[in-house]
Each structure stands twice: as C-alpha cells, then as structure tokens.
C-alpha cells in the first residue's frame, strides 16, 4: 500500500488508482478472510494437503505447526481487515459530515480523499511518542493494548458470511459482550495513568457510562437470543429469514423496541455522540486522550471508529438477518457445496453473495450512526445516567418479558410473527418515505435543491 505513488495533476489516473485500490483492497481482504476462514481449520487443511498437494498430513511430524500457521494467517488478515474497516469508516464519516456542513472535506489524497487514512496513519506513526513525566509509565503504555485487544477479539465471532466466521462459538454473542468490556478497561487505564485532571474526568465518565450502558445492551440482546434459542451468532442469523419481514426486528414488536434500546446503548458504549462525554472536546479538551500522542493516539482512534463498524455489524446480526441472501435457503448452501472434499465454485459464489449482503446492511446502519453524530448535541452526565437507569433498563426488561409472552403467542398462533413482520416492515417503509419527503421539504424551504451530483 505504501508504495502506491499518486501521480500529480492527472485526475483520471488518480481516479483510476483510487478505484483499483478501493475495489482490490476489500476483494483481497475479504477473499483472504473467506478462504482462510473456510480452510484454516484442521480438517479442511488436512483435506487441502491431501487433495491438492498429494501428501498425507497424518504422516507429517509437525501437523500442528501447519494448522498454527494457517490460523495465524487468518488472524493477521482479520486484524488488517479491522484496521481497514475502521479507516474506511473514518473516510466515509468525513465525506458525509462535510456534505452535511457545506464543506468540501477530504479531497487531496486519492480521488475523493479516499487515501487520507493512509496519510493520517503515516503521519501519526512519525510523531513523537510522548509520555508525560508524571504519568504512570507502565499503565500509560499498556492502555492502548487493552483497547486494541478488546477491539480485535470481537472479530473472532463476527459472522461475515454463511461459512465465513473465524470461530462460530456456541456462546458467540455472550463472548462479544464480554470482550467489549476490555475497551473500557483500556480507557479507564488511559484516563487514570495520564495523571491529568482532564484525562481523569474522561476516564471516570467513561467508566460510569460504559458500565451503565452494558446493562440495557445486554438485556436488549436477550430478545434475539430468546427468539433464536441460541447464543451462537450464526444460529441467531439462521433463525431469521432473508426477507425484511422475516428479520427479528420486525417479526416481534418488542424486538423493534429492543433494537432501539440496543442501538442507543451501543452508541454510548462506543463513545459516539450524543454520548461522547469521555472525550467531550468542548468540556474536557480531549478527555482520556488528552495526553496521548503519535501511534498510541492512532490506536485509540482506530478502535473508536472500528467500533462503529462493529456495533453496526452486531446490530445487523441480531436484528436485521445478518448475511441471509434473499431467495437462498439454508439447503441451497449444502447443495452447492457438492460432494467433493473442497467446496464447488457455486458454493464460493454464494459465500461472496452472503458477505456482500452483510456488508451492505452494516454500511447502512453505520451511515445512520454517522448521521446521528453530526446532528445531535451532547447530553450531560446526569442526563446520560437518567436515560440509562430510568428509561433504558426498565424498557429493556419490559421488552424481555414481552418477548417471552410473544414467543408463547407465536407457539400457539404461528401466523402472528408473519403478520407482525409484514405490518412493521410496511410501517418502516412508510416512515422511510416520510423521512425522505421531510428532508426534501427542509432542503427546499431553505431555498436549496436536492443535489446528489457534487461528490
């Protein structure tokens, strides 16, 4: 990547290079993840060695090592994938926000400023890694690792596609909730070890906020778990259908409420506005980040934006049917796999399609998060606590109980979930149309026109 030199003054070449990289990068990363996630398990690796290399791995002295290398490669690819996803989130956020604010925004590095994230990362790498004299050296250095570990570990259980998951844990969503908590440990460490009053404020706020909001988030997550009857990420997706009216968010009215609660709680957990209290620029200067520089700072930033993507991906998994491709039933994957030791080409095609569905949905939810960030002001500490304990926690409990009752109803009257799905989906469509109409009205009331051409 670093070797890509951008020719100056030739917009067409620039656009071409950008497009090639923008397309090749995800293809390479997704492809690597797809292939590695499929084969980086002892059994497929053994099959691959036997079928393609014509060796019998059972006779090898270090078979464990071979499996280890395959797993290591997968880990490396997935972490890279996480970093690139975070970076592209930043790019998209900057483009959207500049459009919302009548600014030009990123437009220097690559077409549409697409490579700005590379320039930013390189810049931050070259900066001095400053540690304040009075800071707790060890903890100050350790904090970014905690944050990054909490971020990277989530990718283990994220279902990118039908078979594309590093490990389909049977406690998947529970695991995700658990490792997310590592991030707050890192933030608290950063705030405390900096030995700065602003950082301390930020760290304390973050601890109060993230720990409080874990509760409604955890309770809201219980709703899809109850509906699917499993904690496994793939299991939850398989329990939903591909069409919108078969998604959990629509098939149960309580799940719609649970999604809203989950969404708000996740905004708070990833410190996104209107819950950006821990770093609140206008109040705490930079909060827990106040003393960080260079690459440690970059890691915090990477995680913050990566978490936006992750929270969108989890929301899609739990409520929006994950990677389910419309019109492709579960048996179709089995059928396409074929009888051979390695899957047939049609199966790979289906995998790619399921990944595409997952990424498009995640992107749409992510876009919503970005809109919210650039529209809302920040809430106050006491209001943040009130919202959580007075509204979200009881609300989450209510949706939990309502879901139990709903499941009993669905067991007796199976058509109830389809009716709810269709009605709520139509309602959501009407709301969407209404929103677009209002947006158009607002734009035209200001004397402007809706113009999507000037990207």
């Amino acid at each position: 990547m670093a070797t890509v030199t951008l020719p100056k003054g030739n917009p067409r070449t620039k656009l071409l290079v950008t497009l090639v990289v923008a397309l090749a990068l995800p293809v390479i990363l997704f492809g690597a993840v797809l292939v590695l996630a499929t084969i980086a398990k002892p059994e497929p690796v053994a099959v691959f060695v036997r079928e393609v290399l014509h060796h019998d791995p059972a006779t090898w002295p270090f078979t464990g090592l071979v499996y280890g290398v395959a797993a290591g490669l997968l880990t490396f690819m997935i972490l890279n994938f996480g970093a690139v996803v975070a970076a592209v989130t930043i790019w998209w956020e900057m483009r959207v926000s500049s459009r919302m604010q009548s600014r030009i925004g990123y437009n220097r590095v690559g077409a549409g400023g697409f490579f700005q994230w590379i320039a930013d990362a390189v810049k931050l790498l070259l900066k001095e890694d400053l540690i304040p004299a009075d800071a707790d050296q060890l903890l100050f250095r350790a904090a970014p690792y905690f944050v990054f570990a909490g971020f990277g570990l989530i990718f283990v259980a994220l279902p990118f596609g039908e078979s594309v998951i590093a490990a389909d844990l049977n406690v998947g969503i529970f695991y995700v909730t658990a490792v997310t908590a590592l991030v707050v440990v890192g933030i608290l460490l950063a705030g405390w070890s900096s030995n700065s009053k602003w950082a301390l404020f930020g760290g304390m706020r973050s601890a109060a906020q993230v720990i409080s909001y874990e509760i409604p988030a955890g309770l809201a997550v219980m709703v899809p778990i109850l509906m699917a009857g499993t904690l496994s990420m793939q299991g939850i997706i398989r329990a939903q259908g591909a069409w919108p009216w078969q998604w959990f968010v629509f098939t149960n009215p309580a799940a719609l409420v649970a999604f809203v609660i989950f969404f708000i709680a996740q905004l708070a957990e990833s410190n996104r506005p209107p819950f950006d209290l821990p770093e609140a620029e206008s109040e705490l200067v930079a909060g827990y980040l106040a003393e960080y520089t260079a690459f440690r700072y970059a890691i915090f930033f990477l995680v913050e934006f990566g978490n936006v993507w992750i929270m969108s991906a989890i929301a899609v998994t739990l409520f929006f049917g994950g990677w389910q491709v419309p019109g492709v039933a579960a048996e179709a994957y089995e059928a396409a796999r074929g009888a051979g030791a390695l899957p047939a080409p049609a199966w790979w095609g289906l995998q790619v399609a399921s990944m595409a569905v997952f990424f498009v949905k995640t992107f749409l939810v992510m876009n919503l998060v970005i809109w919210i960030r650039w529209t809302f002001p920040r809430i106050r500490v006491d209001q943040m606590m009130n919202l959580c304990w007075k509204y979200l926690v009881p609300g989450a409990f209510a949706t939990f109980v309502a879901t139990l009752l709903w499941q009993i109803l669905v067991a007796r009257v199976p058509v109830a979930s389809t009716v709810s799905g269709v009605v709520l989906f139509v309602g959501a469509l009407v709301a969407l149309v209404q929103m677009l109409r209002l947006a158009k009205q607002n734009v035209e009331a200001g004397g402007d026109q809706v113009d999507l051409s000037n990207w």
Partner: protein, 381 residues
C-alpha cells in the same frame, strides 16, 4: 494574581481545583476559570481575566482622536462596528458635530449586519460547546457572506474602521443594496432551518433548560446588558428606549426572555433571544435598504483635520451585539484625549459567573460561558 485567587479556595482536599483555561477550547479566547469541583459538580468557578489586556484605553490617551479609531476595532473584534460607532458618537458629542442623515443610515445598516454576524458566532459556538458541530458551520457559512458585504463596503472583514468621527468612510458600492436584499431573503429562510436543526432539538433544550438561571434582580444588579439582560426578562434596548442615530426611523421588536424552556433567564432564554434578534436585525437592514436613496449624498460632516475639542467630558452609549457599550471620553482641550474609557458587556457578564456557578456541572459551565457570549478581548481591552 494567581496566588490571590488560590488563597480564596478552601484548602479542603475533598475538592479538586481545576484550571479551566486559558488554553481551553470553550473559553472563547484566553480566559481562565479556576474551578473547584467535587466530581462533576462545581462548587464555584472563579473567572481570572486579564490574559488579553492590551491597554487600549491608555492608547486612546496617546493617539489623536481620529487615530484611535482603528484601535477601537480591537476592543471587540467579533463586532467591531459597534466599538467604532460608540467612539465616533462620543467624539462627535465633544465636538458638537451633527452627522449627515445618510451617514446615520449607513451606520445603522453596517451595525445591524455586524450584529447578525456576531450573533451567528454566538449561537454557533454555543451549539458547538453543547456538542453539535454542524449548526456552527452553517452559522459560519452565513456569516461569511456578511463578511463579503462588509468587505465590499469598507475593505475589511474583521476590523472594519468604517465609522469615522463625523460620518462614515465610504458610501454604498454599486449593486450592493440588491445583493444584500437577496441575501436577507435567503437568511430569513435560514433562521427557521437553523431552529429546526438545533434550537428545538430535545437534547439541546434539555441541556440548557433551567441551567444557570439569572434572575431579573441579579441581572440588573450585576450590570448585565444586551441579550443577557433581555434574556432575564428585562425589557431594555437602547435602540428603542434611548434611540440614537437612524434608529427612530425603524420598526422592530425587542425580544425578551419568556422562559421558553422552563425558567426565565436560563441559558436557553439567553440563546433564543439572540436567535430572535437576528430576525429583527434583518428587518431593520431591510427597512433601511428599501428606504435609503440610491444617489450618493454627503456622508461626512465638517470635521477639522486636527481634532481639538473644547475641554469637557461626554458619555456615549450604543447597543452593541454584546449589549450596551459606553465610551467615556474626557478632553482637556488638546488634540489628545485626557481619558478614554470603554464600558463593555462581556466584562460585567464575567462577574456574574462566580455567583451563579455554584452547584452547576462542569458541562454547564461551558453552556453558561457561551450563553453569556463573552468575548475575551472585550473583557480585557
């Protein structure tokens, strides 16, 4: 100074003493607040002013009368036109000069445009301090256009030096009137859009409602002026109650805080009064532009090159964007003033912060500072 302030802070180690400034993004310039906090709740915030003191009043005694005019710009560089106007009126009173009517109108037009620009900064930075970035950029976008108009009028975008003793420096450029009227048409639509974007946002309202309430009595006794005073429900505007210049010719309302979000005199009232004032300023500029003649007329009174007023003292008062601005000028009969004193709204607004900051949260201090619309150079001069 620092030590003096710190001595007033109780040596009680339950509390944390926080230096809020001078380099803090929300202090609107170099101001320092020494904040005693117990967790998120403040016990007291003591303003520590003086970081931006440039002895402008003393400079007024060293330069001649006309030579001081560019310095007045630096008293309040967010709304420099008013500082120009106040000083010009003071010296005109000393000289007993009558300003030509067209110059009076040009003064009103330029001042009201600058009032809009200044209030856009005030409400924009306020929304940014509350955490919303987009409304501020929208405000700056509109302000840029006003800056363009003022630049076409007098060649400067920030420190105008447009008003002169006895009149104004330049007449309207060609085509200026129609461009400004077209802008005002758009701007009148911008204000409701801005309200939809942020003013009536539930989070925004909740953040400001019943926060840092300044009662009517407090506002008067601390000498608050302008939108801060009117936000507390005191119906007082120099432009209407002690009219000067061309203001008797215009029809406009004076918005007064009504407790829109819960309590009269809270941060939201002070904020919303400014929003409504922009609308009224736009009305005034429109009236002025629609009635003012297109043919150039006299815009400067006869003022001697060597300004040498008779001995005496005068006080001039103008309604600046940050409230009543007064100049007290004493002449000893020479061509340099014996004393120039500028009374500014931000300075008195700072004095109330210590009194009403007790029990607020750190985030509310930010809201309080920006709702008072203090501008650092105007505090210190």
């Amino acid at each position: 100074m620092e030590k003096l302030i710190l001595r007033r802070v109780d040596r009680n180690y339950e509390e944390m003493v926080l230096n809020f400034g001078p380099q803090h993004p929300s202090t609107h310039g170099v101001i320092n607040f020494i904040v005693e906090t117990d967790g998120e709740v403040m016990k007291r915030a003591i303003p520590d002013v003086g970081y931006l003191h440039r002895s402008i009043e003393k400079i007024g005694e060293a330069t001649g009368y006309p030579g001081f005019m560019p310095f007045t710009d630096r008293i309040d560089y967010v709304a420099a036109m008013f500082a120009n106007e106040g000083y010009a009126i003071a010296v005109e009173k000393l000289l007993k000069v009558e300003v030509p009517p067209r110059a009076q109108w040009l003064r009103a037009i330029s001042c009201e445009l600058v009032r809009i620009a200044s209030h856009l900064i005030a409400v924009g930075t306020m929304t940014m301090d509350i955490g919303a970035f987009t409304p501020m950029v929208h405000g700056l976008r509109e302000r840029e256009e006003i800056n363009d108009f003022i630049e076409a009028l007098c060649g400067a975008r920030l420190t105008y030096n447009y008003h002169r003793i006895g009149g104004v420096a330049f007449d309207l450029p060609e085509g200026w009137r129609d461009k400004v009227l077209a802008f005002l048409d758009r701007f009148d639509k911008f204000l409701p859009e801005f309200d939809r974007l942020i003013t009536f946002n539930e989070i925004y309202k909740k953040r400001l409602a019943k926060v840092a309430v300044v009662s009517r009595e407090q506002a008067i006794s601390y000498g608050l002026v302008g939108p801060n005073l009117r936000g507390s429900g005191v119906d007082w505007d120099l432009r209407r109650d002690m009219p000067y210049g061309a203001y008797p010719n215009f029809e406009f309302e004076v918005p007064v805080g009504k407790g829109w979000a819960g309590a009269v005199g809270d941060c939201f009232d002070r904020y919303y009064v400014r929003c409504l004032e922009m609308k009224e300023s736009s009305r005034i500029v429109r009236q002025a532009l629609e009635t003012i003649g297109q043919t150039p007329e006299e815009i400067m009174a006869k003022v001697p090159r060597n300004v040498k007023p008779d001995a005496g003292e005068v006080l001039s008062r103008v309604e600046s964007a940050r409230g009543e601005m007064a100049y007290y000028v004493v002449s000893d009969g020479t061509n340099k003033a014996y004393r120039v004193r500028a009374r500014t709204g931000s300075f008195t607004a700072m004095s109330i912060i210590e009194d009403i900051s007790g029990g607020l949260m750190v985030a509310d201090l930010v809201a309080l500072i920006s709702s008072l619309d203090v501008v650092a150079p105007e505090i210190d001069r």
